[in-house]
Symmetry: C2
C-alpha cells in the first residue's frame, strides 16, 4: 500500500516531470492546442500536431497529471510488457517474477504487445502514466523513442530473455545465439546436412535473429554453407508452425531436420509431419526452443533448449527492486540455457 | 491518451473519492495514525488497526491520491484480472478482449491472481488506484469486501467465463454446469458407469463447482448415484493432472472414464496413462474442457468442451465499453459451449 502521508511531498516534487505548460511553451502554442493535439488530433492542422508531438517526445511528457504527481513517490506497482500471452512461452518466467515481487509487497500489471513495437510503446507510456515504479521488458529491440521516453522519465527497467554483450542496458537472460548454436551442433552431430528453420518474424525480435545466427555459426564451423539454411518466418502459433513445415517440405533440398524458433512452432510442425505421414525422428527431426510444458506432452517429446524461466523471472525482479531502491546495478546477468535431448531428434535418414 | 485539460476538473471532483481525512474522521484517529496503519501496521495496536481498516473498507478508500483525482476522468486504461497466466486457458479470450479494446483506443493492463481471492482483491485495488476505467473479472466468486469496494468506487466491471441465472451481476459467458452435463452425457452414451473427475480446487472457483454439478446432473438423470463420482481436486498444471490420474487409478472401483476440469489437466492425465501403459481410449477414456490448442496437439486428441473464447472476450469488451460510456447494460449475455468429439473418448472397456 502507499503512503498517503506522502501526498504533499508528491505534489511538491511534481514539477520535476514535464507539464502541459512545458509542452505548450516548447512548441509555441497554447495549452488548449496541446490538449487538442493529444485528445482530438483531427481538429488540429498536421503541421501544428507535428510540432506539438515533437515537443511531447523531446520532453518525455506523458499526458497524465496523475503520473506526474506519482513520479515522485512509490506506487508499489511494477509493470511488465511481454510480446504475447497467447501461449505459455513467457508464463513461467512471469510467474516467478510476480512471486518475487509479491514477497516484496509489489503488485504486477502486465501488458501484451502482440510483437508490435508501436503497441508496446503505447503500453509503456500507459504503465508510466499509471504510475508504474519500474518495468520489465523483453529483448532489446524497440524504437529509440521508447528508450528516450524511459530515460526522460527515469523509469528503472530491466531487459529480460536476452544476454547480448553488445548492449549496454542492464539485462538478465541467456545468450540466444550461443544456446541455438549448441542445439544446432547437436543436430549436426546426428548427421543432418540439410537444415530448415521455422522462425518468428526476425524484424523487431532480437531473440529470433540471434537464434538464426546461432544456427549459421554452427553450420559454418562444420564447413556447411549457412546460406543453404531454409528459413520460413511466421507467427508463434501451433497452426503457423504446421503451415511453415508444409512450406519447408516443398523446398529443394528437403530439410532432414527442422529447428523451430520455439516449442509452440515445433508442436505445430510435429502435427503437420504426422498429417503428412512422416515419422519423427525416423523421416524428419524436429526441435523446439524454450522447454515449456508443451515440449513434454507432444509425441515424440521435443528435443529443445531449456530456458531458465524461473531464475530469469526471479532474478529480473531482484534487479528491478534494487534499481527502484536506488541501488547501483551495473552488471547484466547471464544465465545458462542448455540442450535437452528427447525423442524428436534422431539420425539423418540414410 | 488523457485530457490534460481536465486536470482542474479532476481536482475539483477529487472530493467525491474518500480521502485520508475521511478515514481518520470515521475511525477517530489522526491522519498520521491512518497512514501508519496502511504503511507500517506493526507499530500500531491491533485494536486501532482494526478500527482504521474498518473505516478504509466502509468508505472504499484506496490509499492513493492519484486514483482519487483520476476517478473523475477517463484514463482509457481497462484492467483484467485472470486467475492464471501459466497456461493458455484465458489467453485466447483475453487476446480478443484486448483487440476489441484497442480498436476503441483503450490500453489493457492484466493481473494474474493465482486463484487467490486475497491477491485478486489487492490487484483490483491496485488497478483502481492506478486509474483503471473498468475491469474484467473471471467468475462470480470473490470476497464481499471486493464487491463493496467496486461498488463504492463505482468502477464498471463485467464477469466473464460464466453464465449463472442466480447471479444478478452483468456477465458474459456460458453455463458451465450445462456444458459439462452435455459432455458427461456423451461419456455415459459410451457405456461408462464408473466416472472420475480431476477438478480444480472447488473453493473460490464457481466454474469448477458448476462443472462438477453438471456431471452429477447427468449421472442422476441416467439413474447413477452421483456420490459414486470419484473426485480429485488439484491445481491447473500438466504435472498435477498426471498425479491426479495416478491417484484416481488407485480408487475402487477404478473409473473407466476420467473427466478433467480443463484441457491442461487432461493433457497431464494422458501423459500419466501413457506412462502406466494404458491405452486411451481403449483402456480408459479421458476428456478435457476449454478446447485450447493443446487439445489438438496431444495424442490422442481430446474430446472436450469448446468454449467460445473469442466471442466471450470481444463481447466482454463491448459490454464494458458501453458501461464506461454510461449506457445502461441490463442483461447478461449467455453464449453456447459445445462438445467436440475427438479420439480420447471411446466405449467403456467390456
Amino acid at each position: 500500500m502507499n503512503a498517503p502521508s506522502q501526498r504533499n511531498r508528491g505534489q511538491d516534487k511534481a514539477a520535476e516531470s514535464p507539464t502541459l505548460e512545458d509542452v505548450a511553451e516548447r512548441s509555441g502554442v497554447s495549452t488548449a492546442t496541446v490538449s487538442r493535439c493529444l485528445n482530438n488530433p483531427s481538429v488540429v492542422s498536421e503541421k501544428t500536431r507535428a510540432r506539438v508531438m515533437e515537443a511531447v517526445k523531446a520532453l518525455g511528457y506523458a499526458p497524465n497529471f496523475g503520473a506526474r504527481a506519482l513520479a515522485a513517490k512509490r506506487t508499489n506497482t511494477f509493470g511488465a510488457i511481454i510480446p504475447t500471452m497467447e501461449n505459455a512461452i513467457f508464463a513461467r518466467g512471469l510467474q516467478a517474477f510476480q512471486e518475487e515481487l509479491e514477497r516484496n509487497g509489489i503488485t504486477l500489471l502486465v501488458a501484451s504487445s502482440s510483437y508490435r513495437p508501436e503497441l508496446e510503446d503505447k503500453q509503456i507510456q500507459s504503465l508510466v502514466a499509471r504510475g508504474a515504479d519500474a518495468l520489465l521488458l523483453i529483448g532489446h529491440d524497440r524504437t529509440p523513442d521508447t528508450y528516450d521516453f524511459l530515460e526522460k522519465r527515469q523509469i528503472p527497467y530491466v531487459i529480460a530473455w536476452v544476454h547480448d554483450d553488445n548492449e549496454a542496458r542492464i539485462s538478465i537472460g541467456f545468450d540466444n545465439r550461443k544456446a541455438m548454436k549448441l542445439l544446432a551442433e547437436r543436430v549436426l552431430d546426428h548427421g543432418h546436412q540439410s537444415l530448415g528453420l521455422i522462425s518468428a518474424q526476425l524484424e523487431g525480435n532480437d531473440r529470433a535473429r540471434h537464434r538464426l545466427e546461432g544456427i549459421r555459426d554452427a553450420m559454418k564451423e562444420r564447413g556447411l554453407d549457412p546460406s543453404k539454411l531454409q528459413i520460413t518466418e511466421t507467427q508463434y502459433t501451433i497452426s503457423c508452425g504446421a503451415e511453415a513445415l508444409a512450406t519447408l517440405l516443398h523446398s529443394d533440398p528437403k530439410p532432414t531436420a527442422v529447428l523451430c524458433g520455439n516449442d509452440v512452432l515445433a508442436a505445430g510442425a510435429l502435427l503437420e509431419a504426422r498429417k503428412q505421414g512422416l515419422r519423427v525422428p525416423q523421416d524428419i527431426s524436429i526441435t523446439g526452443f524454450d522447454d515449456i510444458e508443451i515440449a513434454e506432452i507432444v509425441s515424440p517429446a521435443l528435443t529443445t533448449v531449456h530456458v531458465p524461466h524461473s531464475n530469469m523471472g526471479a532474478g529480473a525482479a531482484k534487479l528491478l527492486l534494487a534499481m527502484r531502491n536506488g541501488e547501483d546495478v551495473e552488471q547484466s546477468v547471464e544465465l545458462e540455457a542448455t540442450v535437452v535431448e528427447r525423442d524428436s531428434l534422431g539420425n539423418a535418414p540414410t
